[in-house]
């Protein structure tokens, strides 16, 4: 096989990597013997590799520590927006709430808590009668939406009042 310079350089690289077959190593050695500049180049490459491999390798940080670093960096870059804009909006809404509550207390009448509710949005707060032994019934007719308060005598058919 006629080796040229370009192929010789490829084979030098493969030789350093240990990928050349024995007969190819012999052919490369024969070629390099005739081309001292390429031989010097191969020695330089070998030297560079040995030098790099002899350098101490820094241990990478654990994955969890790396993620913590990423999150810390995100928080650091987001701090100005989170620390100022929501706080300012909160002040505004808190002020609105206080003003509304003060206004509500000023304008709205006090009212007792509902005592009776029909559970359908209409409140009957209180029912009473002077009729002795009478029963007062409260209900809502769902068909008409009427609230009905009905007083019934003790025997269901009392005399006229």
């Amino acid at each position: 096989m006629n080796m040229n310079r370009k192929q010789a350089m490829r084979w030098i690289s493969r030789s350093i990597d240990g990928d050349l077959a024995a007969d190819q190593e012999k052919q490369l050695a024969a070629y390099l013997a005739k081309h001292p500049d390429l031989l010097a180049m191969r020695d330089d490459w070998t030297s560079y590799g040995d030098s790099l491999r002899s350098e101490p390798v820094a241990n990478p940080p654990p994955a969890a520590a790396a993620w913590n670093d990423v999150r810390r960096e995100i928080r650091r870059t987001d701090t100005p927006r989170e620390a100022t804009i929501p706080w300012r909006a909160t002040v505004g809404w808190a002020t609105a709430l206080v003003v509304v509550m003060l206004g509500w207390a000023r304008f709205m009448p006090t009212s007792p808590v509902s005592a009776i509710s029909d559970g359908d949005g209409s409140d009957v707060e209180m029912v009473d009668t002077d009729l002795s032994d009478a029963t007062v019934m409260v209900y809502k007719d769902t068909a008409t939406d009427w609230v009905i308060i009905w007083v019934e005598g003790p025997h269901g058919n009392p005399s006229d009042l």
Binding site: E125, A143, I149, V151, E152
Partner: protein, 150 residues
Amino acid sequence: MTRTLHSIRQGAAIGMLLIGVAAIDVHADKVTIDATVILASNTDGQTDSRLSAIAPKLKKIFGFRSYTRFGGGSATIGLAGHGTVKLGGGGRLAIKPEPAKAGKIRLGLQWDRGDATLIKTTVVKRRGETIILGGAPHNGGKLIIHIVLR
């Protein structure tokens, strides 16, 4: 600091606006009470033509055979004021309206006849809604007050 003060001013403006809306809703109007007294009985099958609008509902709810207009009246009363509607036959309905939450009206109602209070109640209703007071015996039937809040 300037932006913070701006936020406070904005919040105060929103609050005042909401209060203004609530105040208008609470204090703007009077209420009108229409009270119709009805004698319901099973002795006569005819129904008063003046009650044609509500008679079907009365029949469905109470089941009496006849309904006759017995009396009634109307009163327009300022909120937080009070008034009375004469019901006929010595009966009267005392009314005390007040503003309540969410645009409703708290209505104090007292149905008196002679010296007796038949029903005294407080209800919270919206305009256009109906309240029925009833059950007082009369001439073998029952008196019913159909009350509409306007």
